[in-house]
Assembly symmetry: C2
Homo-oligomer: 302 residues x 2
Amino acid sequence: MIIAAIEAGGTKFVWGILKAEARDRERPTILAKGSIPTTSPKATLDAVAAAIGEAAEKTGAPEALGIGSFGPVVLKRSDPDWGKISVTPKPGWSGVDIAGYFRLALDLPIAFDTDVNAAAYGEYLWGEARGIQDFIYLTVGTGIGGGVFSGGSLVHGLSHPELGHIKMAREAKDKFAGSCPYHRDCLEGMASGPAIALRWGRRAEELPPEHEAWELEASYLARAIATYSLVLSPELVLIGGGVGLRPGLAERVGALVGEELAGYVPALAAPGRLEGFVKRPALGPEAGLIGSAGLAIRLRAE
Amino acid sequence: MIIAAIEAGGTKFVWGILKAEARDRERPTILAKGSIPTTSPKATLDAVAAAIGEAAEKTGAPEALGIGSFGPVVLKRSDPDWGKISVTPKPGWSGVDIAGYFRLALDLPIAFDTDVNAAAYGEYLWGEARGIQDFIYLTVGTGIGGGVFSGGSLVHGLSHPELGHIKMAREAKDKFAGSCPYHRDCLEGMASGPAIALRWGRRAEELPPEHEAWELEASYLARAIATYSLVLSPELVLIGGGVGLRPGLAERVGALVGEELAGYVPALAAPGRLEGFVKRPALGPEAGLIGSAGLAIRLRAE
């Protein structure tokens, strides 16, 4: 089966055409892939549609398109605004009908979810969370967001989780005001890539592993994961994203989650249980694109 | 259908025998009800089983028993410890097989969940959350805990949510150390009945509505509910429990949730959307018992 996929991000749209094996236990192969910088809605969507159309002439026509989009988006099937971006500070993008645009432009059935739910779904089908019914996929980069699996289903609710914006108890020694324009010192405001850069005056990539920035980063992420764990009771937490994929960070975070929980959750307090509780995603930076393909494959199977 | 129900609490076990109508849209009628103080496991369970057995001679024999229990409990069906209390500081109760005891003592099929999930289920079937797929039932009293509905199902996960123990960002003016023996200043440590009594030197019941304690209480609850909302995206939050049912508290909390979210969740930022977002449960203090009966009715229907 040939499937098209788009990971619609705030800075770039990554598109791909993938070949899925008959048995969906095997990870789809990427036949073609490219990326388009996110500018105005029309220019961006037109360029993505054109690139997919052109690539499809070589790969064969896709049967469906899966989209994992930056948010906030409307996911309620019964909502007439399903498939649209809702109110966003990103200029020009509020109300843009992403799903509707591609349904018309490419004449394909569309599966649509958040970028992070798509990544979580990819990890569920073909990655570290294979067969795990309750887990969280957290991405830490320019922003912080998360996809949530509960009882074997992606969590939507009224809209969708916004894991990056929970208010944080501060580390006493940390005087940084926080960088979130809405909440200042929420998790994203304290631990995203831009927050790190503002606090230390250097970009995260430039900070060496022994820099104190990383211990602080790990402690905020561990604190947030302890909170998610008390709310959702997951079996596993994956950390991806530009900052999150940094070698050693997931392990460092995992080692601190137990301290935050202080033995309170017996199912996690058992000796050794927290080993491997926090991991890097297996699909790495491609989780979003491959997961979006997974959403489209599921749509075809419905 | 005659159904037995137990709300197993840390201070008392409330038992009931209920009559459910053929159409489960109608709230069951309580035919008999009583309560037993929680002492040693054997004395408590024996007394509850005896009371139900005796009452059943008048009401007719129940077909099933629903139990909503204080936690932590083991809910995973595949776990050999299903239906047991896990590790608890409550003397003598670690590992007690509550479901197993009543299956043997009363010879009935057993539905088993947390007390707060049972209460949430009661509100879903017959209360304020009727037909709502994503909501939270929070109880604020001696402790703080919560039941979670996501996508139309009760959330279990690895064990079950422990909503009362999330770490809180403090109000700057609040110097109270917190009363939780595990985390000190988690939500339960800052806003439970015992925390209120310790902070103000008077029991919550004795504090008049205009006392500053209530504004602080509302702000911590609103902050916690904002966090749950960012993680779970619920449509509704119900607040029950001895402190939570205090007149006016739910409204006061609801008015503050919007400030905590600072307009970030568009689906909740729409004008008027937060009106009625936080409510008192319709079944009041009986939500746990009636909800436990609901779990048993569902078990019979499976």
